[in-house]
Structure formats: structure tokens, C-alpha cells
């Protein structure tokens, strides 16, 4: 203590050769400190100004999260609200092999058992250390995903996805289509109405703490807009009947394919639209493009004799003939071509022409109408035009310009050759008979009020043709095979030869039937097409008509339509001959 004080004193008293504290030195220190401060300030400015975006980004990246709020895909229902397509959440299990610790064998075995995958496959996926992301299994049930999560393997996680289920299965497969694994529509209405069904994902920006809890919303929440519910015009019950009967008929007749369309005769709504072969939209393994084809809408064909009621109607409408006009129906020639009938008759009235399906009669009537008027009429029936149902890939058919027609072409068009149509177009054209001459627009969606149609025929002509078609279903007519016990019907069968290259082949046919029921006050229009029946019978009246009968009969029962011929409805014996029809 003493020594220190002595020392101290000495220093005070005796500065001796103390280091010079001249002004230069002070300035140097100050400059140094000032310089350091300046560096700090510059650095701060650099970070605040130049690097700000980067730093804010880094901060946000750590605590700020943008969460996607997934919109639910809209439900598709039938007209009675029965669900036809619903999305339910499923989990996809993924792993990130790049940053993973080796998985203990017993856990690997357990995981493999849960996911029903061979352990070797899993081990192989984990071994690929270059991959950051690999799906182990997609679209498993949430319960199973919970079990996987309970295993607690680091680097294995679940991700929510939606899977589409189609409870109605294959009967609706062509109309509804399906979505891909990404949840976007790929076929049918899922594709056509993608925008409406998909909705819009929402998002919210949140601040998360270190434990992952959401602490605060940083921006206004953008709510997800769920997909809208799509209500179809179809009735699941009628669709099921149509599909079942079509399938039976196609298998029974060893046909290549078939299609059925059922329309509401008063509103133009499509109540059923079935195709066979079909596929299972819930499990599309082994589905071929053949099975995906929506034949009723996409396939074009020559409608053959089923065109006759339509072509004859214009002759009546224009006053060129009356229902009781009798025509000479001997075989005759137009230029080099001969028009002949399968069951030739010397003379027939309009009802007779339909009953015997006379090509001669139909063509003679057609040739009474000027080509331009004939074309205008077919055009107004929607032939060669898009039917406007909004179905993807729907066919317009072909109707050539009348200016290039030769008489023989107009003649063949009257009995359904040289013009190509889809089954849906034919069904629509037949609405004129069931609806007092007014052609209705088609609708795949349930309509509240019927849309206004377009008058094509006068009520008188429509009534007359309706009577002729009803008469055609009575004994001796071509449509007896389509009769329904308890109801009257009206209809026309057809058997169209198929065109291969440039010639009509004799052994390949399309059996067709177009009709409405009940005959007196039609509620339904049913059109049937069976492609290449090869089990012996191939006439429309024998192959397609029974399908009409079963579908229309079942549908009338489903719709609780009162039988209009309930009593003394004589059962036709099994042996009733189906008239040859062409």
C-alpha cells in the first residue's frame, strides 16, 4: 500500500519523459474512433438500404408462412341430389432421402407392412440420397396416414390431397369423366366444367413461432372459394336402367358397342346417356381408349331408316302430301341408281311407308321438296351443327351444302344415308314429334324452367307424324319390338349398313331405334344404337327395340307416369315377326 502510494506520488510529481500527448496524437485516436463509427454507420446503411430485401426475406422465411387453403372441388349430383362425384381428403406419404438417417430395420418393416409395399422397394427409395422428395405411396386413407405418422420416422411425412370418388361407377363414367392424380379434370364434365368445379384456392399469411403455432395473421385472409355443386339433368335411377339394359343387349347380341340416350320430351333435359363398353372411374387400370369413348355424343353414323319420319314430315309440312296420300312404291331408278325396298309393296300411304320402312316412298316424298328447303329443314333439326350440350368433343355431324346435291343424294338422305349424325342429335331431332313440332335445346344440367325451343313443324304435322309413329308400334308395324306393356309408344327402327372405305358392307350393321313414350302424351324420348350385332339378329326392330322397351318402361315406372293403356293391352306372342326393315 505504501509502495503504491509512493509510486503514485512519484508519477504525479515527476512526469519525467512522459509520452507526448500532443494534439496530433489525440486527433489520430479520434480519427480512428470516428472512422470505426463511420464503418458501423455505413454497414448499417448498407444493410438497411442495399440488403434490406434480402434480410427481410430471410426473416420472413424463418417465421412467416403462406398457407394454402385448399378449395374443395365441387360435388356433381344427379337431378335428385344423389352424389355422383365427391372429393374426400386422402394423404400421400413422401420421404426426403437426402437428409435422412438410416431407418431401423424393424421400423422399415412396419412401414412397408402399413403401406403394403415390399420392404426392398422402400429401402431402395430411401437409399437414393440424391433425391430431396420421393412419394412412397399416394392417396391412402387418413387413418392409415395417422398410423404411419405414429411410427415417427424422421424424414417421412404426409401431405394432404384430394381424391375423387364416383359412387355411381361405370354407368356414369362417360358423362362425368374423371380427374387426374393432380385433381384436375381430364375427361367428360370434370374437364368441361373444370373452372366451375375447381373453385379457387385461398391463402393466408401467418407468423409462426418457433414451435409452429400460428401467432398472427399478417395479411388479410384470402378465403378459398369452394367449387360449385354441379347438378346434372340425369336421373341416376334411369341412367342405371339404361346402362344395365344396354349392357345386356350388347352382350346378348355380341355387339361391338352401344349407346342409349334418354331425353325428357318436354324440357330437352338429358335424363340418361349410357355407353357400353364402359370403365370404372374409381379404378382405371386396364382402361382402353375404346372404353373411354362417349359414343352417344362423339360417334357419327348414318341413321338409316330412323331418319324417315323426319324426312317425311317436311313433305307433309310443305303440303306436298297428306297422311292418306297413296304413293306408287314400285322399285324405281334415279339416274343409274336403283331405289328398292326390302319388302316391296305396290303402293303405300304415309303410315304404310313408315310401317314397311319404304325407301321408295320416303325418297319420292323427299324429292317433292326443293333441295334448299330440304337442307334448311335438316339444318334446323340440328344436323351438321354442334348440338350444344357442352360436352367436350361433341360431334356436329355432316350435312353437305344443298348447292352440290344431286337428286340421288337428296333421295338417300331421306332414308338416312349420306348424312352423318350422332345419337344425341337424333334424340334431339325427335323432340319435334313429342313436343308439337318444337325442337328443344338440349341440356345436360337440370333446368328450372324449360328453355324456349324453336318451331320446326306446325302442330298439325307434328300430331300427324306422332300418330303415324304410334301406329308403327302396333301389330304389323316396324316398332312392335319396342312396345311397353301398359303404355303406348311411338317409334321407328332402323338398320343401317356400315360404310367401309367407299362401299357399304353387307355384314356390318348398326341396329337403331328411336322412339318416345307414352305415345299419346310423350314424356320421354329414347334413342338406342347397337353397333355391329353379330349373334344372328341384326335388325333394329329385333336388337335395339327391346332395349327401348326396357329402358323406356323402366324410366316411366321410375317417373311414376300413369299407364295410358293399362287394360286389355294384349301381350304379343313371342313369335310375332319383326318386319324386315331397312
Amino acid at each position: 500500500m505504501r509502495a503504491v502510494s509512493v509510486n503514485h506520488n512519484r508519477r504525479l510529481n515527476n512526469p519525467g519523459p512522459a509520452p507526448s500527448m500532443g494534439p496530433g496524437r489525440v486527433r489520430f485516436v479520434l480519427a480512428l474512433l470516428g472512422g470505426l463509427f463511420l464503418v458501423l454507420i455505413l454497414r448499417a446503411m448498407y444493410m438497411q438500404v442495399v440488403q434490406q430485401d434480402f434480410l427481410v426475406g430471410q426473416g420472413d422465411a424463418r417465421f412467416r408462412r403462406t398457407l394454402t387453403m385448399e378449395a374443395n372441388r365441387g360435388v356433381i349430383t344427379d337431378r335428385n341430389g344423389e352424389p355422383l362425384a365427391i372429393s374426400t381428403p386422402v394423404q400421400s406419404i413422401w420421404a426426403s432421402p437426402a437428409g435422412m438417417q438410416p431407418v431401423p430395420p424393424e421400423k422399415l418393416a412396419e412401414l412397408a407392412r402399413l403401406l403394403e409395399l415390399p420392404p426392398s422397394e422402400l429401402a431402395g427409395k430411401f437409399a437414393d440420397k440424391r433425391r430431396e422428395f420421393v412419394y412412397l405411396k399416394r392417396q391412402i386413407s387418413p387413418q392409415l396416414a395417422d398410423k404411419v405418422a405414429a411410427l415417427g420416422i424422421p424424414g417421412v411425412a404426409g401431405q394432404q390431397e384430394f381424391r375423387r370418388y364416383y359412387p355411381a361407377g361405370e354407368s356414369f363414367a362417360h358423362i362425368i369423366g374423371f380427374t387426374g392424380v393432380d385433381g384436375k379434370g381430364q375427361e367428360g364434365l370434370e374437364l368441361a366444367r373444370e373452372k366451375m368445379l375447381a373453385g379457387k384456392n385461398g391463402s393466408r399469411v401467418v407468423l409462426r413461432d418457433r414451435r409452429g403455432h400460428i401467432v398472427e395473421d399478417l395479411a388479410a385472409i384470402e378465403r378459398p372459394r369452394n367449387g360449385q355443386t354441379l347438378v346434372l339433368a340425369m336421373d341416376q335411377r334411369i341412367q342405371y336402367i339404361a346402362y344395365r339394359e344396354l349392357k345386356n343387349a350388347v352382350e346378348l347380341n355380341k355387339a361391338k358397342a352401344g349407346a342409349v340416350v334418354v331425353l325428357d320430351a318436354k324440357s330437352g333435359e338429358v335424363l340418361a346417356l349410357a355407353n357400353y363398353p364402359s370403365f370404372n372411374p374409381n379404378n382405371r387400370e386396364g382402361t382402353t381408349p375404346e372404353m373411354l369413348r362417349n359414343r352417344a355424343v362423339i360417334d357419327l353414323f348414318e341413321p338409316g331408316s330412323t331418319m324417315k319420319p323426319l324426312s317425311i314430315a317436311i313433305a307433309l309440312e310443305e303440303g306436298k302430301a297428306r297422311v292418306n296420300t297413296v304413293l306408287d312404291t314400285h322399285t324405281y331408278k334415279i339416274g343409274p341408281a336403283t331405289i328398292r325396298d326390302v319388302s316391296p309393296q305396290p303402293s303405300l300411304d304415309i303410315t304404310g311407308i313408315i310401317k314397311k320402312s319404304s325407301n321408295v316412298g320416303a325418297s319420292k316424298l323427299a324429292l317433292m321438296v326443293a333441295p334448299q328447303d330440304f337442307w334448311t329443314y335438316y339444318d334446323s333439326l340440328g344436323f351438321g351443327r354442334n348440338p350444344g350440350s357442352g360436352f367436350p368433343g361433341e360431334a356436329s355431324g355432316r350435312l353437305r351444302n344443298w348447292k352440290s346435291w344431286r337428286p340421288i343424294e337428296q333421295a338417300t338422305m331421306s332414308f338416312g344415308y349420306g348424312v352423318s349424325v350422332s345419337l344425341l342429335q337424333m334424340a334431339r331431332a325427335y323432340t319435334i314429334f313429342a313436343n308439337d313440332g318444337v325442337l328443344l335445346p338440349l341440356s345436360l344440367y337440370k333446368t328450372n324452367a324449360p328453355m324456349p325451343g324453336k318451331r320446326v313443324l306446325s302442330q298439325k304435322t307434328a300430331d300427324e307424324m306422332k300418330g303415324v309413329l304410334v301406329a308403327n308400334s302396333e301389330p304389323g308395324g316396324g316398332a312392335v319390338g319396342g312396345r311397353i306393356i301398359g303404355y303406348s309408344i311411338g317409334g321407328k327402327s332402323g338398320t343401317a349398313r356400315k360404310l367401309e372405305g367407299h362401299t357399304y358392307v353387307a355384314d356390318k350393321h348398326r341396329a337403331l331405334f328411336m322412339g318416345f313414350a307414352p305415345g299419346k302424351n310423350p314424356k320421354l324420348i329414347v334413342t338406342v344404337m347397337i353397333d355391329e350385332p353379330s349373334a344372328g339378329k341384326y335388325y333394329g326392330g329385333a336388337v335395339a327395340a327391346p332395349v327401348f322397351s326396357a329402358v323406356a318402361g323402366g324410366a316411366l315406372r321410375v317417373l311414376n307416369v300413369q299407364p295410358d293403356e293399362p287394360t286389355n293391352n294384349t301381350l304379343l306372342p313371342e313369335s310375332t315377326p319383326v318386319p324386315a326393315d331397312f
Binding site: 374426400t88 400460428i214 342405371y240 306393356i485 287394360t567
Partner: protein, 90 residues
């Protein structure tokens, strides 16, 4: 002047406490809201699943099969059907 300051101080303290409480309550409510929203979504999902289940069990093919095979039912043949016209109707 001092008196006013004292009053303001008290007000300030209360306001500060109120802010803290409000923040706390807001967090709590927010968590609850999140929970309820999650529940709503879950119920939505369950509803979809039940709809799906219902339509699976109610599928026509299944009902038809059960009716014909287990319950021994059949569609009435035309001979078994008697239609009765409403009064005055046909």
C-alpha cells in the same frame, strides 16, 4: 400540474394493462377460432364421406341384388299389375 400527471399516469398504467389483456384474450380467441375452423372442415369432410358411404350402400346394383336374392322380390309381371284410373280420368 402534478395532479394531472398523476391521473394520466394511472390512466396510462390501466391502458397498458388493458392492452396486454386484450392481446392475450385476442390470442386465445384466435386459437379457438382456428380450432373451430378446423372442426368445421373436419365435419365437412365427414359429411362428404358419409354421403359417399350412403350412395355406395344405396347403389342400385346392390339394392337390386339384395332385393332379388335375399328378399326374394321381383318386378311385377304385366299380368300382376292392375292399373286403376283416377275418378273421371281415363
Amino acid at each position: 400540474m402534478n395532479r394531472l400527471n398523476a391521473v394520466l399516469l394511472v390512466v396510462l398504467v390501466f391502458a397498458a394493462m388493458a392492452v396486454v389483456t386484450a392481446q392475450h384474450v385476442s390470442r386465445q380467441l384466435y386459437i379457438e377460432l382456428n380450432r373451430e375452423q378446423k372442426l368445421a372442415r373436419q365435419l365437412d369432410v365427414d359429411y362428404g364421406k358419409l354421403l359417399l358411404e350412403q350412395s355406395t350402400w344405396g347403389a342400385h346394383a346392390l339394392v337390386e341384388h339384395a332385393a332379388t336374392s335375399r328378399l326374394d322380390m321381383h318386378l311385377p309381371a304385366p299380368r300382376e299389375v292392375q292399373a286403376i284410373a283416377p275418378k273421371g280420368g281415363t
